[in-house]
Symmetry: C2
Subunit: 302 residues, 2 copies
């Protein structure tokens, strides 16, 4: 099989993972985990989200976490944050992040539930964000690119609508998310074939969930189709509110394990990554869904 | 991608799954699960194992389970059993099974641990089994075909040594097992490429574990290489004694889910399969590793 030699992993645990942890993780603990993950050698980490603390209380200390990370890692590791709107983007830009993620859902209904805006309103707000982003790189994250919890399979054209608009506005990067973990390898092939034909030369980041055990199979298919950047979450933190009890994001350590075993290089130190996962387990104090964590018996000892 | 249209799943839960359940499952409960699984439409089920009850007490009621299944399903579903030696094979043949599985490990050390015999002794015993099998189909199961818990990666030649011997002796079918769940898609490709070149036209059954979350990725790669028969275990029962806490066999329902979503037909009724999984959950009374079981919240209610 033809595979990229080098794979880049954007660690999103401190944002996408933490925001799904109910109990507030104290700022020093968050910072300790960011540090442990940074030790493992990620090139880019999404460290927090500038959302309103009423919407996601877990992210109330966004500025403190980012400020710490910037002081410690500026120039060594790219710092990304999620911004839901112009207000968050201004904050992020003022704090000199390297990258911002902005989410628009390919499903009109999911976008409404998620942001209380129509897709058009979200795209209008994106335009405002782009106007003020300065040197910060903006990644457009297309949520529910495969399926919507309300409307089922997402039409390819709905994904294209978001990407068309984003590229025209000048976004720097595009991420495709299997938000509810229903993608399968055939669907990955279908969507990527469509996107690669429609946008020749355009790179895509993939974000998969392991809800139904197909996370790594979907990554494999994406790799075979030339995708070489993935978002994942250490410990497999990050769930989906629409599938209670289901696994969340693909665990970074599971993905890294597969990639390394397939002789693909990631720049990640797998042992140091596991140390960070152990710290996550001790911090969140619930069993992690990560296969690697289970196999290595990484869990909080009560 | 090129995929087989039709995939056959050999359900091995009542054998490989149950034998890893510590608490004895009463015979009527075993039979109820076999019946529930049969309802889902498997073409072949490995219903038990004719091992010595001192070695695996869980299989002490092998004759009763098989006799029930034969009375109820003869001619409708092929009944397979595992036989470790000539004694077990004679028993199985006398009870008119359709298929027998006989395991030889590609790793000399693992074969010794598993059977207290050298590989040569196991192959000699296989010859005796074949001499008495009559019309019963014999499947040679190559254990540790990818890696051995003691010796690491299994040389391709060690796998070929077993298959060479088996084919020369006239086995009817060959199964390749990732016994300890360490295979990765690149290794699947490597081994299958080697075997398909060495044995043109020979079909192989695959048996994968999901220990590290790569089970479905490995199945995907095998499918892409033309493999269209898999062994799997409902509920994901069946572990590996060398990886405590790790997931065991790939869960049949996870595999069926991926196959159906990829528009491959299996002949399995996914809803009826989930009813069987629910019965398994209520019977074993521990949480199942199956992703589908978690997502559907199939679990024993205390």
């Amino acid at each position: 099989m033809r595979l990229p030699k080098q794979v880049e992993i954007i660690e999103v645990g401190p944002r996408d993972g933490f925001q799904n942890v109910r109990e507030f993780i104290e700022t020093p603990q968050k910072i300790a985990i960011v540090d442990a993950l940074a030790e493992a050698g990620f090139g880019t980490m999404e460290v927090t989200s500038f959302v309103h603390p009423k919407a996601i209380p877990q992210m109330a200390d966004a500025e403190a976490v980012l400020t710490h990370a910037r002081r410690k890692y500026a120039g060594r590791m790219k710092l990304a944050v999620l911004v839901p709107n112009l207000f968050g983007a201004r904050k992020a830009v003022s704090l000199a992040v390297d990258e911002m993620s902005y989410v628009v859902s390919a499903s009109e209904r999911h976008n409404l539930e998620n942001t209380r805006q129509t897709v058009d309103q979200s795209l209008q707000a994106l335009k405002e964000v782009l106007a003020e982003k300065g040197q910060v790189k903006l990644r457009l994250s297309v949520a529910t690119a495969f399926a919507c919890p309300f409307l089922g399979k997402t039409p390819l054209e709905s994904v294209a609508r978001i990407i068309d608009a984003g590229l025209e506005m000048g976004v720097d990067d595009i991420m495709i998310a299997d938000t509810i973990g229903t993608a399968n390898p055939l669907h990955v092939e279908e969507l990527l074939t469509y996107l690669q034909q429609r946008y020749p030369g355009q790179a895509f980041v993939m974000h998969v969930h392991d809800t139904r055990g197909m996370g790594l199979a979907n990554c494999l298919k994406a790799l075979e189709m030339g995708i070489h950047r993935f978002e994942s979450s250490a410990g497999g933190l990050g769930g989906c509110p629409f599938a209670p009890g289901a696994a969340g994001n693909i665990a970074t350590e599971d993905l890294v394990n597969m990639l390394h075993e397939m002789k693909l290089s990631t720049g990640i130190d797998a042992d140091k990554l596991l140390e960070a996962v152990r710290l996550i387990a001790d911090t969140v104090r619930f069993p992690l869904e990560s296969h690697t964590a289970k196999t290595r018996q990484i869990q909080h000892n009560h």
